[in-house]
Amino acid sequence: MRRLRQLGIWGAVAAVGLLAALSVAGAFLGAERAERFFNATPLVVFWFLLGGLLVVGFVAFRSLLARPGLLAMHLGALLVLGGAMWGSDRGHALGGGQAVPSAYMVIHEGETTDVLLDPATQEAVGRLPFPLRLDDFRLEYYKPDDPARWDLSVGTLAHREEALQPWRVGSTFTLPVTGIRVRVLGYLASSRPVLDDRGNVAAAECDPDGKGPPAMQVLIASHGAEDRAWLVPREGEGYAELLLAGRSRGRGALRGGDYVMAQSLILQQPEPPIRDYLSDVAVVRDNLDVAKKTVEVNDPLHWGGYHFYQVDYDHEAARYTVLLVQSDRGLYVVYGGFILLVAGAFWHFWIAPALRFVAARQGGRA
């Protein structure tokens, strides 16, 4: 028995050290490769060995059974390990049945489907035992801090890139590559365009009704030449763009060859940050809705041994949703292990010493 104890404790230390080393290696691999790595056959052997060591611990260290905290932690670790193995892809394959461990569903609004897709190939990999219908998909946005304050970006024509440029009235910034300096001279929260003789936008003035879009006046300086210009959005457009190529005159003016690096200033309505994605889905059986739920991030639908998660959506028109479908096999065994792990750790390291501390104090007083 003594030898078994030695084997158990040093084996546990070695296994914990090895798992720590493997986890360090896995962290450098990235999540996808790490998942494949930890599910590869040699690691499956390791997981079984780890489980075996935990069982050896119960046999060799009878004192574990007498210490509730340690017992709960070791039992918890065994449950987490067992549940995770049972719920893994290999566990699903061994367990038989039709359950798909993980897949995606793409459902258009008003459509009912039970087809499960592979995320990489978009090909069908199976069917759910029940179909889902998407009634509605919608996005919720945060309210912008100041709707009247639009974003200023610097666009590069050659690379079709835009970089957000922090600004305030009076601030000056220098553009990369071309070295053009831009100074923000003024900003109208609500404006209307002032047209020249030919009907082009020459300037902007304050809109007394307060219904017009914002406008910005800038001073552009390049190679000693300066030029004033306005960024005024056209009616109904959420942006105004000012091409900088050719605006600087004089000796240092941009020449034709510089056009490949030509930049523009873009004043645009900021996109409000997304607060939530919501899919109203219904579980259908025999043409009847047996369950309805609004699936959102952090609040999945749970039905028939599967969880359904909001993971993606139609970015163009918000007309379809993408749900991640995960089988629940082994999940509640893992959750049971989690509870035992935490309860055991707190009992062993906090509650039991606190009880001893209180008892010692009371004993001292007596």
């Binding site: 720590a20 986890s23 360090v24 991030v297 952090n298 707190f346």
Partner: protein, 288 residues
């Protein structure tokens, strides 16, 4: 390094300086002044926390700036608790940890407020992050005592040993301890590290489990093999290994036990900082 001349920025700088002053005063045995500065540092850090909370309208634990701000106000209560209930001293070191934690929040990290992305809008956000924050500051204190245990003893002559002697003297001053004498004081430091690790380990476990549960609700699985998850597992495993070694060998090998605590804390630093700051570890936790 930049001072941000806002109410929040000024409060943070003052909190940081108060912790530094407390460390110096407690190291010099000016206990009254030290405690006053330490308590003042707590009040200033708590003020910064409240200002930030009002500014961002959610519990300020989202990014590195907010995490370090929050950790900064934990040191004084933790220090008092450890002295009173665990018999673990080292208040000057605690104040110095507070200074080190507040420094990047005050001068380095970007304080621009950010909106909570959908995944972070969960009731598990606060308990998961808070459990880790408490665990991290407790393990930082454990690591200080572990370093003391490693540094205790008479160094052999040489340039390296001069450095060790200097480091040890500084740590002794910060930990309110007289000059360590082998082997009793090494054992005392190792015991203090053990008590602190025992205090922090359940919180480390809770943080890991709450994170797994939240991952299941938000991302579909309780484990994603994400770099942050793996590094947090590494830190948990190193402390788990430490407790197994300590259980088997008892306090007979204080250097080995102390070295494991230091390694565990090193993994925590990597989990908290390197994983978020280095691009090689991009993953689900990149927003943090």
């Amino acid at each position: 390094m930049t001072i941000h001349w806002t109410a929040l920025g000024i409060l943070l700088v003052l909190a940081m300086l108060a912790h530094l002053a407390a460390a110096a005063a407690l190291g010099l045995r000016w206990r009254g002044a030290g405690h006053a500065a330490f308590a003042g540092g707590l009040a200033l850090a708590a003020g910064a926390f409240v200002v930030r909370w009002v500014e961002v309208r959610h519990l300020p634990m989202q990014n590195l700036f907010e995490v370090f701000l929050s950790m900064g106000m934990l040191m004084y209560p933790l220090s008092l608790f450890c002295r009173r209930f665990l018999g673990v001293r080292g208040q000057a070191a605690d104040a110095f940890i507070g200074f080190v934690v507040l420094l990047p929040a005050a001068l380095v990290f970007n304080p621009d407020p950010q909106r909570l992305p959908p995944a972070l809008q969960s009731p598990l956000f606060a308990p998961h992050v808070a459990a880790y924050l408490f665990a991290y500051v407790i393990m930082a204190k454990a690591a200080v005592h572990a370093v003391l245990a490693l540094a205790a003893g008479e160094p052999r002559p040489g340039r390296w040993s001069d450095f060790v002697a200097g480091l040890r003297a500084a740590l002794e001053a910060l930990s309110d301890r007289s000059r360590p004498r082998e082997p009793r004081d090494r054992a005392a430091s190792e015991r203090a590290a053990y008590r602190m690790a025992g205090l922090g380990f359940p919180l480390l476990t809770l943080g890991l489990v709450l994170g797994a549960w939240w991952g299941k609700l938000a991302w579909g699985d309780y484990w994603h093999w994400d770099p942050k998850e793996l590094w947090s597992l590494v830190s948990w495993l190193l402390f788990l290994g430490y407790f197994h070694v300590r259980f088997r060998l008892g306090p007979r090998y204080p250097r080995l036990a102390a070295a494991l605590v230091v390694c565990g804390f090193g993994a925590i630093v990597i989990t908290l900082l390197w994983v978020n700051l280095a691009r090689i570890f991009a993953g689900l936790h990149s927003y943090a």
